[in-house]
Subunit: 290 residues, 2 copies
DNA sequence: TCGGCCATGAAACATTTGTTGCATGAATTG
DNA sequence: CAATTCATGCAACAAATGTTTCATGGCCGA
């Protein structure tokens, strides 16, 4: 039936893993986690480090369709070969069609977005972070695709300022929150073309209340950037594809959170540790080592 | 007799090269030019390909101060080992002070993240997009900070496949959705260290149901990558700061959506236009020109 | 409970590995 | 020109590698 794409030996391994005997699973996980050593060191070495029988490696290789460990290792080695940064790295850019057109699209996109990031002005971010640091409370608003940026910012800031950060509209209609803005609070609005009415309303309300308004957008002339105390610009259209890029906005959000955190000093650090301890106690996370 | 900086075995080799016998020079150049093969293939293999005597490799190693080829190879292997953290981890960490410390932090972060993007493997994204294209329905899961990535993906995919894309847990407890996975559907799980139990459960449920599992994570050995048909890797730790970076995950999500859209052809385009028309009619957006 | 199956570890196996001794021939020196 | 040094290829060596076989013990179905 639907042959799963077995582009790399590692993915073959991963796919077969769950249906393997216990010992082979252990060994398989070890290989997946240490694929560099798998290609460079000897089978017996790996066995010793993994605390397993050397034979298990041979059996693992055979279990996923290779003639033996040597062949598996050869496949891994080829997959890791650097000259083929991506198998089509030759920039295959000329070939807009054919089977590799998709890969070329992805590469284009990633490169374009990578190029856009260093062009983001850093100074305004640092200044905005200071404003956040001074704010009694922080409101965050973003709609449609920008919602994800708003939520990330909300999540990260709440890690060390849980009681003072809030998403606009998180607990009821936006309109209720709009009336709650105070002059000593900060409001962050994320948005780019086409701009939603909702985000513009939030910005206007913030301005009216005398709150510090921080706009994360793609243009200085964006409607919600009007009257903003800080405007953090990114290039939404910098990458090919059917939809504007949010990579820059995410990078800004994370930098903003990082600087705000560092401004928070030991107090922020302490609260972050508390939050982490609580999450660990609730066993939200999988324990690090199996 | 100023010992030249012998940071890497390769530089030692290059430095000693000119004073070596002719044959050893040839072999040395071959090693320098093919250092990847030097670490992975056998001495005799290399000798055959270089058209030289196997003994020459042993002699070369001894000539530049190693006890033998094995030791040289070990040094090369260690030099090539991909750093567990990141090339930037040691950098700029020296607590810059002064008024511009924050700005420097932002710049570091942006640069590091920009450097990480082109390292994202493109091929798996294209393959995963094809799987999405073929899926009858698409489920998306992500928790904590990864929720924002999941929601962005959900939003963009729903623009042109509104009825077939759904967030896990969007309309009730996760558990209800977990039982709804079908073999002809695709499940996307976003997560990185520390991994949440919830995301692992989703991945396991997807695997059990025979659905196509796509994992967006920071490691091939992530628990929810086990049994995954496609694993899309990004570097969560590639940037300084208190929190892992989501920029790579966002870039992957957007590329995935873009390729899936392009695979959808005119049908997808048509549906996107419909969606846009509806949003405009509801006057969600501010009209372009004032 | 018995019988077969499979997973697993230990040991024996043939092969391949890196190394070294030796013979040859060219280059260097007195 | 003779004596010496040195670079080089070949072949034999011991060590290490990956593989296979076999004995053991647990598990499931009859």
């Amino acid at each position: 039936m639907a042959e799963p794409a077995k582009s790399s030996p590692l993915s073959e391994l991963r796919i077969a893993l769950p249906s393997l005997p216990m010992r082979l699973q252990e060994v398989g996980r070890f290989v997946a986690a240490n694929d560099y050593d798998a290609t460079t060191r000897s089978m017996r070495d790996l066995a010793a480090e993994a605390g397993a029988d050397p034979a298990a490696f041979t059996r693992l290789a055979k279990a996923i369709g290779y003639s033996g460990w040597d062949e598996l290792r050869a496949a891994l080695t080829e997959a890791r070969r650097p000259s083929q940064t991506s198998p089509f790295s030759g920039r295959a850019r000329s070939r807009r069609h054919g089977p590799n057109a998709d890969v070329a699209l992805v590469i284009d996109k990633l490169e374009a977005e990578a190029a856009g990031l260093p062009r983001i002005p850093a100074q305004p971010i640092a200044e905005a972070a200071r404003a956040l640091h001074d704010a009694k409370r922080i409101w965050i608003a973003g709609y449609r695709s920008c919602r994800s940026v708003a939520e990330l910012l909300n999540y990260e800031l709440r890690l060390f300022r849980p009681e003072q950060v809030q998403l606009v509209g998180a607990s009821g209609p936006d309109d209720l929150d709009l009336g709650a803005f105070r002059h000593d609070e900060a409001v962050i609005v994320v948005g780019f073309l086409p701009y939603t009415h909702a985000s513009v309303r939030v910005a206007q309300a913030a301005h009216r209340a005398g709150a510090t308004l921080i706009a994360i957008s793609d243009s200085l002339s964006a409607p919600m950037a009007e009257g903003a105390d800080h405007v953090l610009l990114f290039e939404a259209a910098s990458s090919p594809g059917f939809f504007p890029s949010l990579t820059g906005a995410i990078a800004i959000a994370q930098s903003l959170a990082a600087v705000t955190f560092s401004l928070g000093g030991v107090a922020a650090k302490k609260r972050l540790e508390n939050t982490e301890a609580r999450l660990t106690a609730a066993s939200t996370y999988v324990s690090e080592k199996g």
